[in-house]
Symmetry: C2
């Protein structure tokens, strides 16, 4: 099973991507995890090290795909 991790921060752009892009993934082939960086702040550092610059972002097999632009990771850190 491949791993898909969707990072978001609860913003409207994030929700739109979650509802549509994440929903469109093939769940038979991907084990999907959703991480809310606004609520789960201890995950921010690992996300940053993985190359996440902004949310929403989708990580597939370790590769980061930033989807539109909701908020920078800096903003998420600052609680914006």
């Amino acid at each position: 099973m491949n791993k898909a991790i969707f990072y978001h921060a609860g913003c409207p752009v994030c929700l739109s991507a979650e509802q549509q892009v994440l929903e469109a993934l093939d769940k038979n082939r991907f084990d999907v995890e959703v991480i809310h960086l606004g609520e789960d702040k201890e995950q921010i550092r690992a996300a940053e090290e993985a190359g996440i610059k902004s949310v929403p972002a989708l990580m597939l097999a370790g590769n980061v795909f930033h989807i539109n632009f909701g908020a920078s990771l800096e903003d998420v850190k600052g609680g914006a």
Copy 2:
């Protein structure tokens, strides 16, 4: 069947998104179309009207998701 349209221009960022994000979509629920705006320039105007600003981009049910950043539509128009 839902419609998914992937717009690209053959750039490395586009190819990465095509290979991974597009590949991850559930083909049982989505009818996937790929449009190469670099080769199919008559599609640029419709893409622009649909809200595409850069490639690669994925359109799901009429909503545009820009994935990372490969090239602006202006660059594609100019043949860059």
